[in-house]
Symmetry: C2
DNA sequence: GCGTTTTTTTTGAACGTTCAAATACGATAT
DNA sequence: ATATCGTATTTGAACGTTCAAAAAAAACGC
């Protein structure tokens, strides 16, 4: 099987054809199982393919067919498990549909994003799935777009969750636990400015419904990456958590961010959840670890991945236009990072929760069953 | 700027040439800044490019030039931060050198790996960086290979760390803390069978040097993924950790695995590090979190990423042959997941460490300074 | 055996780019 | 004015594949 004599360049259909004693097109036909090919010929061609270890050149195929089987995927930060897990699922579903995933990450920087998108376009990806992007997107007329973050747009398919509502429900849950000073921590590497806004809007709305005004001192925007713990932004977080009017609970725009907050609290010696409740967004694998046990808004990540691939491939292959807005409902997974607010003047009316306070306080216990409905039931009791 | 009248197909050099009133080649020349192009012409071409939002078709370029600027990267499991962080760095360095990253993950399955490699070949990637692969690799003559896992091979560049030595040193460190029953937990989705073997060999060697035999009951191979905590393999782990002859320390082949072990211990109510010391491999971002505070063998991940891109690009662009074996020395980062072994008959001679036992026991304290050298100094005192 | 249909195979052209060679253009020198 | 040279630009061909159409081979009917 050693063809060291041959030039170090990959064999082509013509090489295969020559070896099989036939022509280009016949080889092509065998590969695609299309036209009528005599069984005898087919065998010879297959043998030649195996012999030469021939693999079709997808670039040449693309050129002639004028479309690729590549799905571009744009994520924010691969270090964030939300994105890496999403990428993993997308790769899986894409392959199932006969597509290859071309992954690119923005790192949360506008310029990087632009370059990466350019690169995807240069590769003429058939579609781009945007899991993270700035609002300022170059118009790509000839590329199918699927947006997973942000807000429903006019062009392209949108698949997402109701961010505002989710944040509102998560905040309401904290309110129902008696928290009145609830902080909000965001990250720089976010999926989309609009997602940020929507989540923040939900947070604000829940507060205002409870008659609580927005306190800017409780809002922090974090730098990216766990690995840069001493960034400037991190100091803002420390100040927020250690100041005199520090919050008793914090809503984080991502689990990844929640981990930073949790770590910061650990550093400050704040007990979680006794002194500080934390709620995240995403429900990444780490949040389920007993040590972390993060209460979080769970996103149906696998489903989102499947739907976005479906949407992309569907838009490419089906003539029938699909519905271009899919809105999913995330659910709140209650774990050990949240508890009743420490007794304070504001907490006049401690709500009767279905779990005993003792159970609420033990971080080890994992109660990942409570859903959005639970929150809904609870909110009216307190939102006054 | 709206060209809705034009066909929904990307503009080509010819479109640009027509608009600029010049020819294909001149456009090409402008793009590559090569030949003599009159300033006046150059401007017109650039204007046309901007006007049409032209982007070169890399597939066509590839076809003509007979090589791509794409680096294939094969990882094990994107959910494992080791791989996702590596991918992130590789993407960065690749872009710096003018290359695009085409990421593929094996999921630890032989068949998936094979399909993904096929896909990389079909895309005619200029090189493949193997961060995870089975020993059984198809011979790819016309593709540059860089191996980051496994053992130095005859073909391709090898960049790695001395796995055996690292594992030996980590084990020795545990021995120096007085541990005698030291478990070993591996994962299915590993970088390479040989890496596994090397690490395990190091573990065994350290044990045998200390006069301790191998106890099969202390060796477990875990299923993949944190998200499947109740897998069959997980039960093996539980049994190992809760059995009568349970270990006082465990060496894990990856941080990702160590987290599973840690979580399992938490579930069993085993105090870390008082009742169980844990050492991992990789030093991913999560291991530095105070809640985790995992003692681990730190890999110079960014450096490895940079070197592998350098090696790949170097092999492609330089005529001079580079050294094809780079072996790096990882360092042991001592954090809170390890402590002196609980007093037992075997621990006759507790070593005098430079940290007080009290400090050793507090998980919150991060002492990430100790390196391999520290271990070296300590080992002789105890290894008798 | 010969025209006709059906099946199988081959050939030419094209996808968008770049290399190599050819040509046009301008200027300078003769 | 013409040869000469350097600069600027264009043209033809090719990369490896597939589409469309042509051609060849085989099968069929009478």
């Amino acid at each position: 099987m050693d063809h060291s004599g041959a030039a170090a360049r990959p064999p082509t259909v013509i090489d295969v054809a020559n070896l099989a004693g036939t022509s280009r097109q016949t080889v092509s036909n065998v590969i695609h199982g299309k036209a009528h090919v005599r069984e005898q010929t087919r065998k010879r061609v297959l043998a030649a393919i195996a012999e030469l270890e021939y693999r079709p050149n997808v670039a040449a195929r693309h050129l002639k067919r004028r479309r690729t089987n590549v799905l571009g995927v744009l994520v924010g930060d691969l270090a964030n498990p939300f994105y890496s897990e999403a990428a993993r699922h997308i790769e899986h579903y894409a392959e199932q549909r006969g597509y290859t995933m071309l992954l690119a990450s923005t790192g949360g920087e506008r310029e990087t994003e632009q370059r990466r998108v350019e690169s995807l376009i240069e590769h003429r990806v058939a579609a781009v799935i945007f899991l993270a992007y700035s609002s300022q997107q170059p118009t790509i007329e000839y590329i199918t777009c699927v947006f997973v973050a942000g807000l429903p747009t006019s062009h392209g398919v949108f698949i997402g969750v109701d961010e505002r509502k989710s944040a509102e429900q998560a905040t309401s849950f904290l309110l129902s636990l008696g928290h009145r000073r609830i902080g909000y921590v965001n990250t720089i590497v976010s999926s989309h400015p609009d997602s940020d806004k929507a989540r923040f809007a939900g947070y604000r709305r829940a507060l205002s419904k409870a008659g609580i005004g927005l306190d800017d001192a409780l809002v922090v925007r974090l730098g990216s990456g766990i690995e840069t713990p001493e960034s400037v932004r991190q100091h803002d977080l420390q100040r927020m958590l250690s100041g005199p009017g520090r919050p008793t609970a914090v809503l984080c725009a991502a689990d990844y961010t929640a981990l930073q907050v949790m770590d910061c609290a650990d550093g400050l010696g704040l007990a979680i959840p006794q002194q500080l409740s934390i709620v995240g967004f995403d429900d990444t694998a780490y949040s389920a670890l007993r040590r972390i046990s993060l209460t979080t808004v769970s996103y149906p990540l696998r489903e989102i991945a499947r739907l976005s691939v479906d949407a992309a491939v569907g838009a490419l292959e089906d003539s029938a236009p699909k519905r271009n807005r899919i809105l999913m409902q995330p659910e709140l997974v209650v774990r050990g990072s949240t508890a009743l607010a420490p007794t304070s003047p504001e907490t006049v009316d401690p709500p009767a929760t279905d779990a005993s306070p003792d159970e609420q306080r033990r971080p080890q216990v994992r109660r990942s069953v409570s859903t959005v409905d639970t929150v809904r039931v609870r909110r009216p009791r307190n939102a006054r």
